[in-house]
């Protein structure tokens, strides 16, 4: 469905991506794991048209993507950015409806809205509230709900668990799992490698702007090198 070929991106004079190639098949959850500054966000921003590659190409359903963010959204790729970027000045529902900006099928939009509210009952209670007054967790849900409203088939997610409490982190991952059920394909960038590898079908390990390893997620999760670098040596969670 998505194919990235030999992508090179320079960012502020620093070459951030050095020949990335990866692919995402329909219905898959693919995760990209890497340290800070490895180029994960750069990759997503390039796919969604905010950064211009120096070299290489991005193909979606076999076609080269246009180089304008709005046209990329139109072709069916939706990006949930890092830091959520909700419209704090608009109501929650307006935020969701903006997700459906490119759609004109009123009925379908309405039914999708209901679907989102079903998925996030918490949002329904606050539909008229100004989005800026939502808590971090609610904002993340809103950002994800907004992504659903675009009706894109491929969802790019950038650090959805960032800054969230453990309980919410779990919820967010549960929801990503449900997205799969809705027929979405997901490319997930995550700091929380442990959770991401649990959830994903396949994974790529990104280091210094290069892919150093790829494979089925479960396999990578057992790789000792990866365990050491990304999963931490201590046991995790509430156990202490």
């Amino acid at each position: 469905m998505l194919e990235v070929k030999n992508l090179h991106v320079a960012y502020g004079g620093i070459r951030a991506l050095k020949g990335i190639s990866l692919s995402v098949q329909k219905g898959e959850i693919v995760t990209i794991i890497g340290a800070n500054g490895a180029g994960k966000s750069t990759l997503l921003n390039t796919i969604s048209g905010f950064l211009k590659p120096v070299r290489g190409s991005v193909l979606y359903k076999g076609k080269v993507l246009p180089r304008r963010p709005d046209l990329i959204v139109k072709s069916g790729i939706c990006h949930v950015p890092e830091g959520r970027l909700i419209f704090a000045n608009l109501s929650l529902e307006d935020n969701l409806l903006l997700g459906a900006y490119l759609r004109n099928d009123r009925k379908a939009i309405q039914s999708d809205l209901e679907k989102v509210y079903q998925l996030f009952p918490r949002l329904k209670e606050r539909r008229a509230q100004r989005a800026g007054t939502l808590s971090g967790g609610e904002q993340q849900m809103l950002a994800m709900g907004r992504a659903l409203m675009t009706n894109g088939e491929l969802i790019l997610m950038d650090e959805p668990s960032l800054g969230l409490a453990p309980l919410l982190v779990q919820t967010v991952f549960d929801i990503i799992e449900q997205f799969r059920g809705l027929g979405k394909t997901i490319l997930l960038v995550e700091q929380n490698a442990f959770k991401a590898l649990q959830l994903a079908d396949r994974a790529y390990i990104l280091e210094q702007g290069r892919i150093v390893k790829e494979g089925p997620a479960r396999e990578l999760a057992r790789d000792p090198a990866i365990k050491a670098a990304y999963l931490g040596s201590r046991s995790r969670g509430g156990g202490g």
Binding site: N36, G163, Q198, G237
Partner: protein, 260 residues
């Protein structure tokens, strides 16, 4: 151990919303205390209240036995409380060195005229400030990046620089707001060691907000848990991790612990 910071019945309301509701806890001298809770529980608000950015609706904040409620942020900083921010706030267009040098200003007291006329006291004190800034950068392993513009610093180092800048003020109490956000386990571990080290080397007390449970459980001697602005639990790492209320509101049933 005497408490360096003592918070009692601290309440903050925004309009009709109660962000912090009668929270009390204290930070012992030389201690590392964790402040955890779900997003929107009021943790950062408490930081803003302690540092004087917000004024409490009611309640008291005592620092070394003196109330600091109503003082301006810079006065509170002057007294020895400083902090870092959730979304890093460096002096972005200044070099790493200048970031630290600027924050060293409390260690000098030459006057305006002395500066403009470059009188001996100005030169002596400036020399001292420069030395201090260099030293701090050295201690924190940032000397290599001395002349780099802060904005060009890799993310992890930006966090570290923010801590160095805080240390330049000779604080007695350091508040860290999600210092490990966006760090992987490896980096988090380094950060933990760093926090303990600066506590010991600089004789500080630390209050830290964090979602990385490794860090909280690993370094905090005492943990305060908030939910919806209220304190729901308080205690050692062990006590907290077994507290049913905390698990329900914050930690969740951690299947991952089984898996790992």
């Amino acid at each position: 151990m005497a408490a360096i910071l003592h918070i009692r019945d601290l309440t903050k309301q925004f309009g009709g919303l109660t962000a912090v509701d009668a929270v009390s806890f204290s930070v012992p001298e030389g201690g590392i205390v964790g402040l955890i809770g779900p997003n929107g529980a009021g943790k950062t608000t408490i930081f803003n209240l302690i540092t004087g950015i917000y004024r409490p609706t009611s309640g008291s904040i005592e620092y070394r036995g003196k109330s600091i409620v109503g003082l301006e942020p810079f006065r509170i900083a002057d007294m020895g409380i400083t902090r870092t921010f959730q979304n890093i706030r460096l002096f972005k267009n200044l070099s790493v060195f200048d970031n630290v040098l600027t924050a060293c200003h409390l260690s000098a007291n030459y006057s305006f005229a002395e500066a403009i006329l470059r009188l001996p006291r100005f030169r002596a004190q400036e020399k001292h400030l420069t030395a201090k800034a260099e030293e701090l950068l050295g201690i924190m392993n940032l000397s290599d990046y001395r002349d780099l513009i802060a904005n060009n610093l890799p993310y992890g180092l930006q966090r570290r620089l923010e801590i160095v800048r805080a240390l330049a003020l000779n604080p007695k109490l350091l508040l860290l707001d999600e210092p490990a956000a966006g760090m992987n386990p490896d980096e988090t571990e380094q950060l933990m060691r760093l926090i303990v080290r600066i506590r010991d080397d600089f004789g500080l007390s630390v209050l830290v907000i964090e979602h990385h449970m490794d860090l909280i459980m690993g370094v905090c001697e005492h943990i305060v848990v908030l939910n919806f602005g209220e304190k729901i639990a308080e205690g050692s790492a062990d006590e907290i991790s077994k507290n049913a209320q905390v698990i329900e509101a914050y930690l969740g049933t951690s299947e991952e612990a089984v898996d790992a």
